[in-house]
Symmetry: C2
Subunit: 160 residues, 2 copies
């Protein structure tokens, strides 16, 4: 495949458990998509919406490592942090996630990358929290914009 078209991002709320599932395909091999999720010099180029500036405090993406980054816009700054439970090269990243505006709210996130042939990759990202209220507030927060824009920026980075 040589197309560089942008793919649809599927965002689904699980009906049984307080989990969000995001599925997205990329026209790039798995190792390249994985590296864009683990190398801080690449992450800073695509993670989040276009109108925010990302600054990494630390990003030690290995089993047992941790991360913290900040998104800023004008005078506002938003911090995010977590730890990496497991990082299995090219396949899986399991990590925790907290937006520091709600420091007691913690999500357990799992990223799975599948090789779907022809140098293409399917990404499935799940985010589990401890209540449906938190999950639904997250879905209602306008998060799709950040996710869609982030993945469009990732398409650009992977195509570059």
């Amino acid at each position: 495949m040589t197309t560089t078209s942008t793919h649809e991002t599927e965002i689904v709320a699980d009906p049984r458990v307080p989990l969000v599932r995001i599925v997205r395909e990329f026209d790039a091999p798995r190792a390249k998509v994985f590296r864009a999720h683990t190398d801080p010099e690449l992450i800073v180029k695509w993670l989040g919406p276009r109108d925010l500036t990302m600054r990494i405090d630390h990003y030690d993406c290995r089993t047992g490592g941790s991360y913290r980054y900040l998104h800023s816009r004008n005078d506002e700054e938003y911090g995010f942090h977590g730890c990496f439970h497991e990082v299995r090269p090219d396949e899986v990243i399991v990590q925790t996630f907290t937006f520091e505006g709600y420091p007691d709210s913690v999500a357990l996130e799992r990223l799975v990358l599948e090789d779907i042939g022809n140098g293409r990759t399917r990404l499935t990202a799940t985010s589990l929290v401890d209540s449906f209220e938190s999950r639904d507030a997250f879905l209602a927060s306008g998060m799709e914009t950040g996710i869609n824009e982030g993945y469009e920026r990732l398409d650009e980075l992977l195509g570059a």
Copy 2:
């Protein structure tokens, strides 16, 4: 209070989300109960049932740290590992947890310690997983024995 009696351990399956909640009181101040959860030299003395031997691979209990330990009985050895999302002294520990026999199953755990007066502490430990099947299999696994015996051993350690 000077009683050293063993308290009941309450283990509850949440009806709405795949979470287990454990509540237990201890006749010891919060700082002491916290330290028994963070100092590897103390943890090794109480965590788990009496008939298993615990060996710590590493236990770096701080925000962004990680741990791995092994329980053994005769020729069998069981590994457990995770990362520490947040460690707030005397109050809260948020961590991930995997039994290495089921390496793709990850729990998000939160320990909260409350000072309930007279040098006593209430511990609330929650464990969140991504399906009711996993949660119910955990509950059916005979985990109460390990938890009850572990907390009885912790009573003994705190009283010593």
